[in-house]
């Protein structure tokens, strides 16, 4: 039996126009400028699994998240959700049933909840918007259930967001995302604004909910230790492209791409086990003028002439997908 993935992303691309205003371009003779925020990204997520995307700021991981839920329209490629193309469906008249099945949790729990609304209204909005529950009493009951499922009290529905701490607010966001009983949750750095002890609470809740409700997650994070804790598969992004896509176990046991190795080496070692670390060099280049060939070559210790000239494709090597000439040639 072939398992059809719930989410399938093919050659996804997003180009942002970041040109100066027209008059400035004319007067100052500036050219039009484009950023390839996401470029040729392909992956699939099986039902009930978690794919994590990691990378440093500006690598395009949040853009991928927004493309997947239809907050941006892709400029290339497409996303299939349960066999249907998202871009067509979300713009058509049958958008609502699809939107109901995918929800998003945002990074900042202070900005993503309306401060003038009671928690009841915040969590009930998706329910009434999709016409799932119209009866007020049933609505309150359902919101109460949702609050309980994320470890808050039923009475909390009468409060306003400012009465909650950051971790509690993020639980409200999760409850709101779960209101329509979605199958797929896109979580964009859901814990990076939280303290570690609160982060542990939120991560545990997310894992429990996944087990109970069979949720599928796309988990965006810059923290590899968190990613290792929650994910089944990990995709590493660098300057808008996937450089490595592998099972969690193989990625952490045997990272292939030099960038993945560098990221793993950069994590401060809390248990001071004294593992050797190669020092990290350089910074992420300006995405407006990415380097030729492999965009990682200026920082890569294994780069050669081919890496400077030719962009490596994401190829499957021993069950792991890597975009690196050195790995593909067997140099490292």
């Amino acid at each position: 039996m072939i398992v059809t993935p719930l989410v399938e992303v093919r050659d996804l691309g997003k180009i942002f126009n970041v040109s100066a205003p027209w008059l400035n371009r004319v007067v100052e003779r500036k050219p039009k400028q484009y950023v390839h925020a996401v470029d040729g990204v392909s992956f699939s997520i099986e039902r009930g699994k978690t794919l994590a995307l990691v990378g440093e700021s500006g690598c395009g991981k949040s853009t991928v998240a927004r493309l997947l839920v239809g907050l941006y329209a892709p400029t290339a490629g497409g996303v299939q959700f349960d066999g249907k193309d998202i871009a067509n469906t979300l713009s058509g008249s049958h958008a609502a049933p699809l939107r109901r099945r995918m929800q998003m949790i945002f990074q900042d729990p202070y900005a993503s909840l309306n401060p003038r609304w009671k928690v009841l209204d915040i969590i009930a909005e998706p329910l009434t918007e999709h016409g799932l529950i119209t009866d007020t009493k049933a609505l309150k009951e359902r919101v109460g259930e949702l609050l309980k499922s994320v470890g808050l009290a039923v009475a909390d529905m009468e409060k306003f967001p400012h009465q909650f701490s950051g971790g509690q607010r993020q639980r409200i966001s999760i409850a709101r995302a779960l209101a329509t009983q979605p199958e797929f949750l896109v979580c964009d750095e859901p814990t990076s604004a939280l303290d570690v002890s609160v982060q542990a609470q939120v991560l545990n809740i997310m894992k429990d909910l996944q087990r109970k409700q069979g949720l599928t997650y796309l988990f965006i994070s810059h923290n590899l230790a968190v990613v290792r804790h929650v994910s089944d598969q990990v995709g590493v992004m660098y300057l808008g492209r996937l450089v490595e896509l592998a099972d969690k176990a193989s990625l952490f046991a045997q990272p292939r791409h030099p960038y993945t190795r560098m990221l793993l080496d950069a994590i401060p070692d809390i248990h001071m086990s004294g593992r050797p670390r190669t020092p990290v060099h350089g910074e992420v280049p300006n995405p407006l003028s990415p380097p030729s060939g492999c965009s990682f070559h200026p920082r890569c210790p294994h780069a050669n002439a081919r890496c400077k000239a030719e962009r490596p494709a994401l190829l499957s090597i021993k069950g792991v997908q890597v975009a690196c000439h050195a790995v593909q040639e067997g140099r490292i």
């Binding site: 570690v196 982060q199 542990a200 894992k207 994590i267 020092p279 990290v280």
Partner: protein
């Protein structure tokens, strides 16, 4: 101990508000030896940044030091007049803040800022100050320092700016640097560079560091000793290795257990329910008692001081040996 570079004794910081006085720091005592790196860790609101601010005399009003004392090389610095403190700040105690963009003046070139700092504190000529500035920038790993010194902060990336800030903090060769979350705003690969840079430079210049951060990994990499703060008090203080591998205070145990590590295979993270109390509602007795799995009657009424607990010192009644024998 007369050898300590910085001595903090029973430090208490209060914020008078309309609804009464809030005690943000309560009875904080610790030492920093010359050349030592002391990590200060805790959740947001635990008072770690405030401790740093109190030491460099930059408490935001209406916050004020309400008790205790801070001594630097034996001299009391918590009650110095503003102008006197200005001379200590920068010359004897340097500071590095979290956001490298706001800690540099966008209207001056980094060279002007470095030269100003050097000339304010050291009596050297302008040429000599500039030479030193270039050398500092080179030491912090900035390429083509001779040219870049005349550029403005916006021409530098986040990681490069933090290098400039470190150069600024070291410019007058202080003996202590208070670094408040110096790597929090940076990406992991840059963070690793900045940490090793800070560690190396402070060793070269013989400066002690008080490193304030919420990231236990950063502490583990850099510090000699660590102080774990909770609700405005020090919960535990000791050598970094002991605090990480054998934490004595239940709040440290919880803090360590809730961090997902690269080499752990646990399905669930250790979870302490609840959150740190607000300053307006710090519970009686030990501030951690409502969240503590080992809580007993004494914890709810009497506040523990730092007690010997193996290699570390922890503010927890579990380590009050005679009392435990009686019970």
């Amino acid at each position: 101990m007369t050898s300590a570079l910085l001595e903090v004794r029973h430090l208490r910081v209060e914020f008078p508000t309309r609804h009464g006085t809030l005690t943000a720091l309560d009875d904080i005592s610790f030492d920093i030896a010359p050349g030592e790196i002391l990590g200060v860790v805790g959740e947001s609101g635990a008072g770690k940044s405030l401790t740093g601010a109190a030491i460099i005399g930059l408490l935001d009003p209406p916050g004020r030091v309400a008790g205790g004392e801070i001594r630097f090389e034996g001299r009391r610095i918590d009650n110095l007049p503003y102008e006197e403190m200005r001379k200590v700040r920068g010359r004897s105690i340097g500071a590095i803040f979290q956001d490298p963009l706001t800690s540099l003046n966008p209207l001056y070139t980094i060279g002007q800022q470095l030269v100003e700092t050097i000339q304010t504190h050291l009596s050297v000529s302008a040429q000599e100050a500039r030479r030193r500035a270039v050398r500092l920038l080179e030491e912090t790993g900035i390429q083509a320092a001779e040219q870049r010194i005349d550029q403005y902060p916006h021409q530098f990336s986040g990681g490069m700016r933090q290098r400039v800030v470190i150069a600024l903090a070291l410019a007058a060769e202080p003996k202590l640097i208070v670094a408040d979350e110096p790597t929090t705003a940076l990406d992991v690969s840059i963070q690793a560079q900045i940490i090793s840079l800070l560690k190396r430079l402070c060793k070269d210049h013989g400066a002690a560091v008080m490193l304030v951060t919420h990231d236990m990994g950063v502490i583990a990499e850099t510090s000699d000793r660590v102080a774990v703060m909770y609700a405005g008090r020090i919960a535990e203080i000791g050598p970094v290795h002991d605090v990480i591998h054998a934490p004595a205070h239940p709040s440290t145990v919880g803090l360590m257990g809730s961090i997902p590590a690269m080499d752990d295979e646990r399905e669930r993270l250790l979870q302490i329910d609840g959150t740190m109390p607000r300053l307006t509602a710090i519970p009686r007795g030990c501030a951690f008692n409502p969240r503590c799995p080992h809580v007993f009657d004494r914890c709810r009424v009497q506040r523990p001081d730092l007690l010997d607990a193996g290699a570390t010192r922890a503010a927890c009644w579990l380590h009050d040996v005679p009392a435990r024998e009686v019970a």
